[in-house]
Every structure is written in structure tokens, then in C-alpha cells.
């Protein structure tokens, strides 16, 4: 049957501070949508049409207007986004709730969003800071690290994560010698590297983004001979980092959301085949889009009011586990009235208020590649 296409908004900061991350994120999300369309099984063969809009990452007012436009003028029925916590909150409160539209953010990690009124419309696929801090602290202790210097990107993600790492690590007996913020996009990190180096520590934990300030700090610290081993939380895990830094990064380790299911590797392959890079938040974006699609399918409706309650169902057990590239299969199961448990690229598991819990993959940089050490 021929349907009018289902429009899904992709609201990300295509201009502004994280403009270098967003094209990949959007492409990943659109990958999932294309998969659904190509399968021909989505809502009886409807086409999924992504509509992009610029959140600017910083300008809440402009972002709200963009969302307003997508919803009221373009007629999107769900939103994959937004990215930065500030604009995400603004869109949620001022536009999404007003219009009753579901939002799944791949990257807004602010704890403040957990408590916000959301009428059950808001979800996110990025992992919780608290959980990751705990896991990372375990890794550090296991590796015999006694003291560590810590630097974080000065936003809600970096701040929240670094707080939780510090709390967890110190509770387990480690010492954080310094916790210094760095601003993304400023380019020169000599001051931060200087301060971090002087504070010293066995390793340097970099709670930032791999192609933003985080990379700059690592590069600077290596060049000055200040640190040799770096600890990389999820924002720092991606192939472009070892590619840019090269051999000196070997031996550094970190954590990223993921489970034994090979979801991450599958997504990697999927993306590479489609010519999409797999940088920060690419996997989360793919998952966010996939969840929207599956929930719609489960509710047999593209209407937010109908499918908002289904998001939890498709994300969590029970049901057949769904990996990246299996969206078609999942759609089929759902169409037949079955149940799915979407695992995806980042081992999505929603807890309580629509946030991702789930398990972590411990990685090690070896031979200038990210390798999996184990799962936690």
C-alpha cells in the first residue's frame, strides 16, 4: 500500500561547538531509518523520511524554533535528538511536551533531565554518568592505579561524569590529584596540560570528546612527556582517536557502553559499509532512531501519543534480542504481534525514567586499534 511517508525529526547541532560530531550522528540515525524503509515492513511499507534541523547546540531559542518548525510545519511525529542538554531541555519543555511528541536523545546526559517533567515523552540512549563512573573506578583499581589526574570537558556531560568518577574512585581508595575542566573548541590546552602534569598521577583520565578538547589534551600531555597512559570514558572511545594520535596511545584503556552481544562490532561494520564514520555518539544515534521506529511499529502508529508507551517495551526484555542491522527482522516480529528486546549498538537497557542503564565494554588501545578487553 502506498502511504504518506513517516517523518522523523533529526535535531542536532549542525553548526556550533559540536558541528564536527553531528554529521556522523545524523548519518547513523538515518542509517536506521533507511534500514526500516528498505525492509518494506515498517508500518505496512511506509517510507521513513528523516528531516534535519539545526539545534546549534547552544541557542535554546533557535533550537526551539527549529523544533517548532519540524513539528508544526513539516509534520514530524517523533524526534531523534537533541544533542546538547541545554537545547534538549528547552525543546522538550517548550515544544515536545506542548505537542506531545516523543524525543529520544542520543547524547544529552544531564542528570537534571531525569527529573524534568516529560509526560513520558523523553528517552535517551546515552549511558548514565553514575553507572559509568562506578565501572571506570573498578577498572582503575583492577589495573592497580593509585592516583590519577582528571580532566573533563566543561559541560554537563563532562562535569557529571568527572564527579561520579572522582566519587567512585576515591570511595574505592584511589586519589584524584586534580580535577581540571577544559573548554571544547578553544584549541590551545597548554595551560591545562601544565596544571595536570604538575599535579601528577599514574594515569590521566580524560572525560571529554575524542575529536574535541579531549584529543588536544592527550596530544599535549604526550608531547610534553607528562603522561603515558590515558583512561578513556565513552566520549573518548572511537577509531579516530588512535588513528590521530598513533602508537603512543597504545596501552591506554577505557569503557564504553556495550554488551557481549557484538552489537558494537556489527554497527561498526554496518556503518563502514554505508560509508559512515563511527565517532562519538554515532552508535547512540543509530539506537535512538531504531527505538523510535520499533516503538511505532509496536504501536502500529506513527503517532507519538500512541507509541510513547511502547518505547520501554521494545527496548527491554522480554523479547527477541535485536542487534544493529536487524531492524527489518524486528519489524517483522512486531508486525506479527511478537516482542523484541532491542540491544543495538550500545546494549540499550532503559531503567526507570527512560534512561539507559546497561552494561559496559572495557576497551584497550592495542596496535593503534580499539580492542575489547572484557564486558562489565
Amino acid at each position: 500500500a502506498s502511504h504518506s511517508p513517516v517523518k522523523i525529526g533529526v535535531i542536532l547541532g549542525f553548526t556550533g561547538p559540536i558541528e564536527s560530531l553531528t554529521p556522523t550522528m545524523a548519518a547513523s540515525a538515518e542509517l536506521a531509518m533507511k534500514e526500516a524503509t528498505d525492509s518494506g515492513k515498517f508500518l505496512d511499507g511506509a517510507e521513513v523520511m528523516p528531516v534535519r534541523a539545526d539545534s546549534t547546540c547552544i541557542d535554546s531559542a533557535a533550537a526551539s524554533a527549529a523544533a517548532e518548525r519540524l513539528i508544526t510545519a513539516e509534520g514530524v511525529t517523533a524526534i531523534m535528538g537533541a544533542d546538547c542538554s541545554g537545547v534538549t531541555g528547552a525543546i522538550l519543555q517548550n515544544v515536545a511536551r506542548a505537542n506531545g511528541i516523543v524525543m529520544i536523545s542520543p547524547s544529552a546526559t544531564s542528570p537534571a533531565l531525569s527529573d524534568a517533567e516529560d509526560d513520558g515523552l523523553f528517552f535517551r540512549t546515552s549511558p548514565s554518568d553514575a553507572r559509568q563512573g562506578d565501572v571506570l573506578a573498578d577498572v582503575l583499581i583492577e589495573k592497580g592505579v593509585k592516583s590519577a589526574a582528571l580532566t573533563y570537558t566543561n559541560n554537563d556531560y563532562g562535569k557529571g561524569l568527572s564527579d561520579s568518577i572522582q566519587a567512585a574512585f576515591e570511595a574505592k581508595g584511589g586519589t584524584i590529584t586534580i580535577s581540571a575542566a577544559h573548554e571544547d573548541g578553544k584549541g590551545d590546552y597548554s595551560a591545562e596540560v601544565g596544571a595536570l602534569a604538575q599535579a601528577g598521577g599514574d594515569v590521566l583520565i580524560v572525560a571529554g570528546y575524542l575529536d574535541q578538547g579531549g584529543k588536544g589534551v592527550i596530544q599535549g600531555a604526550l608531547d610534553a612527556g607528562a603522561f603515558e597512559t590515558f583512561v578513556l570514558p565513552d566520549g573518548m572511545v572511537g577509531d579516530s582517536l588512535p588513528a590521530a594520535i598513533g602508537a603512543p596511545l597504545n596501552g591506554s584503556y577505557g569503557t564504553i557502553a556495550g554488551s557481549e552481544s557484538e552489537g558494537a562490532d556489527l554497527f561498526q561494520k554496518l556503518a563502514t559499509d554505508a560509508g559512515v564514520k563511527t565517532d562519538t555518539y554515532a552508535a547512540e544515534s543509530y539506537d535512538a532512531a531504531a527505538l523510535i521506529l520499533l516503538a511505532m511499529q509496536a504501536a502500529k502508529s506513527a503517532n507519538s501519543a500512541d507509541f510513547k508507551d511502547k518505547v520501554m517495551d521494545v527496548a527491554n526484555a522480554p523479547g527477541e534480542k535485536i542487534l544493529p542491522g536487524e531492524i527489518g527482522k524486528a519489524l517483522e516480529i512486531l508486525a506479527a504481534g511478537g516482542e523484541v528486546d532491542y540491544v543495538g549498538a550500545t546494549a540499550v537497557e532503559f531503567i526507570g525514567n527512560g534512561e539507559s542503564g546497561g552494561s559496559f565494554r572495557q576497551i584497550l588501545v592495542d596496535g593503534e586499534k580499539i580492542t575489547t578487553e572484557k564486558y562489565r
Partner: protein, 336 residues
């Protein structure tokens, strides 16, 4: 007491990075100050002009690398830079024709030019991202270090190493050359003097036989060249990402103004002041003090005047203080 090690720490983490960063800021500030000095406006598009010049340099560098040409020890980007400069100059001149010339004819006040440059900034902003995208690009190849921290430790036998990157060395040398050349050009050559005359009193310069269009062209040629050089130095030393260049604009302006707008020497001094203050004030002097005090005593705290969170604020606070003491900058800049 271990003065040598203390010195090594300071050099490695404070002096050398600050010198390199300062040189890069200075090169950027030279361009800003030049346009201000001659055309009398603060050019907000300068950061994007830097990005554009660097981008062209990178494109040419890729061509060269594909053709198997490299700079050997030096970064290939240095060979590609002349082309980058040329294209940036063409862009700047084209922009002048299309935008600024009109306002010159109208004798618009400087703030109109300023806003015009803001518009131009938006435009370049898009242009650059169209061509090369918003991503990171690696600009430096060739030998990464003149000497590494390890080399230095081996050579000196000290506990603390000093690393000196090739790109840091190049930045410093290029900055010195550029400022000397510019200073000589403006003060000693006839063309340079005519540029100063033009900026001082356009009508009277006309009456002295100065061709204003020529002055403007030269100003843009110099500014675009400086922008490309500055941008490439920065890109080589750190990384190239279009967004960074917009962020760089603020410290560059701060440098130009601390030194005194319109004064080339001021731009350089300003660049170093901003760079040094950013690093020195947020530096943790723990180790240094440890080395300088007798015995094994090491201070408990970090001995950090302010946390790095405030580094940007610090450089601006210093700027404000300098301005309070010398209201037109260290080298007595011009006022509108």
C-alpha cells in the same frame, strides 16, 4: 634545591608552550592590527580568513602528499602555504571589492565596517564548511620533534625532560620574521608610510598623491598572508578545525588590543602577554616549589593561583588591568 630541574619543568610546561602559543596569537593579532591600522575597523572575519587560508593550504598539501612530495624534516604544509596565501589574498580582495569598497565610498563609520565584517564572517564560515567540512584535519607531518622529553633527559641527565616540537620552533621563528618584516615595511618603505598616512587622514593622503585603492589592496594582501601564515602555524601545532578559528578570534583581539591597536610590535607583545598569563596564572607550581625548596619537602596543595576553569577569565582580567594602566594599550594604539 634543584634549580635546573625546576627550570626544566617551567620551560617544558610553561615557557615553550607559551612562546609557541604566543607566537601564533601574535601572528593573528598582526593581521587584525594591520587592518585596523589601515582601514580603521576591527575585522571580525579575520579568524575565518585564517581558517580559509589554512584550508587551502591543507588542500594543496594533500595534492602534494598524493604526488609524493614532502617537506622532509619540515611539514609539507610549509611548501603548500604560498598557494594558500595566494588564494586567501584573492578571497580577501574579492570581499573588499564586493563589500568594503562600497562603505569606503560612502565614508561609513567604522562600526558599519565592523558589522559588515561580521556578515562576511558568517559567509566565510559557511564557505569553509562547504569545502572541507567541520571536521578535524591533521596538518603536521615531517619530524614531530626537534627533541623529545626523553632525548633531553638522556642528554642532560636531569630528572625532568624538555620537549620541543618542530611546529613550536617554526611558529616562533616565523612570528619573529613576520613582525620584523612588517615593522620594516610600515616604517621604512614609502608604501608602508603611505599606508599609515592613509589610515591617519584619507583625504590628505589623497592630496599627497597616495592611491587609496593601492593602499587598500596592499593592506588586504598583507592581512590575508598573515592570516594564512598564522592559521597554518596554529593548525600545524594543534589541529585544524574550522570552529576553533572563531574561538581563537577573542584571544587574538585581546592580544592586538593589549599591545595597542594599530601597532605591530604591540600585537606581538600582546600575544605573548595573553599566552603567558593564560598559562602562568593557572599553572600548578607544586613541582617547581618542590625542586626549589631544600630537602624532600613537597607542598601539599597544587600551588595553583586559580583553577584552569578560569584561564580565559584570567587572560581577560589581565587585559582589563593593562588597559586601566595604559588605556590605549602598551604601545599606545590609535583611537577611532
Amino acid at each position: 634545591m634543584d634549580i635546573l630541574n625546576a627550570l626544566a619543568v617551567l620551560l617544558n610546561f610553561l615557557v615553550i608552550p607559551a612562546l609557541a602559543y604566543g607566537s601564533q596569537l601574535a601572528l593573528g593579532a598582526l593581521g587584525v592590527t594591520l587592518i585596523y591600522g589601515v582601514l580603521r575597523f576591527s575585522n571580525f572575519a579575520h579568524g575565518e580568513l585564517m581558517a580559509f587560508g589554512t584550508m587551502t593550504t591543507i588542500l594543496v598539501m594533500w595534492l602534494l602528499q598524493n604526488a609524493g612530495i614532502s617537506g622532509g624534516f619540515l611539514p609539507t604544509a610549509l611548501i603548500a602555504m604560498p598557494v594558500g596565501i595566494l588564494v586567501a589574498v584573492l578571497l580577501a580582495l574579492g570581499t573588499d571589492r564586493l563589500v568594503y569598497k562600497f562603505y569606503r565610498k560612502q565614508k561609513s563609520p567604522p562600526v558599519i565596517f565592523l558589522i559588515g565584517s561580521l556578515a562576511v564572517m558568517f559567509f566565510y564560515n559557511g564557505l569553509i564548511r562547504f569545502v572541507i567540512g567541520p571536521d578535524d584535519q591533521n596538518v603536521a607531518d615531517g619530524a614531530r620533534f626537534i627533541f623529545t622529553a626523553g632525548d633531553f633527559k638522556k642528554w642532560s641527565g636531569l630528572a625532568e625532560g624538555i620537549a620541543f616540537r618542530t611546529t613550536q620552533g617554526i611558529s616562533i621563528v616565523v612570528a619573529i620574521l613576520c613582525v620584523a618584516a612588517l615593522f620594516w615595511f610600515l616604517n621604512k618603505t614609502k608604501t608602508g608610510k603611505s599606508m599609515r598616512a592613509y589610515s591617519d587622514n584619507e583625504n590628505l593622503a589623497l592630496l599627497s598623491g597616495v592611491n587609496p585603492e593601492k593602499v587598500v589592496v596592499i593592506a588586504w594582501v598583507l592581512a590575508a598572508s598573515l592570516a594564512t601564515i598564522a592559521g597554518t602555524m596554529y593548525g600545524m601545532d594543534k589541529t585544524f578545525k574550522p570552529f576553533i578559528y572563531l574561538q581563537l578570534l577573542l584571544p587574538i583581539f585581546a592580544s592586538a588590543i593589549v599591545g595597542g591597536l594599530g601597532s605591530p610590535i604591540g600585537a606581538v607583545v600582546g600575544g605573548f602577554i595573553i599566552a603567558f598569563s593564560e598559562i602562568a596564572v593557572t599553572f600548578a607550581y607544586k613541582k617547581v616549589i618542590g625542586y626549589l625548596t631544600p630537602g624532600d619537602w613537597v607542598p601539599d596543595g597544587l600551588i595553583q593561583l586559580l583553577s584552569t576553569d578560569y584561564k580565559f577569565a584570567v587572560s581577560f582580567a589581565i587585559l582589563v588591568v593593562v588597559l586601566l594602566v595604559r588605556p590605549t594599550g602598551i604601545f599606545k594604539g590609535q583611537t577611532i
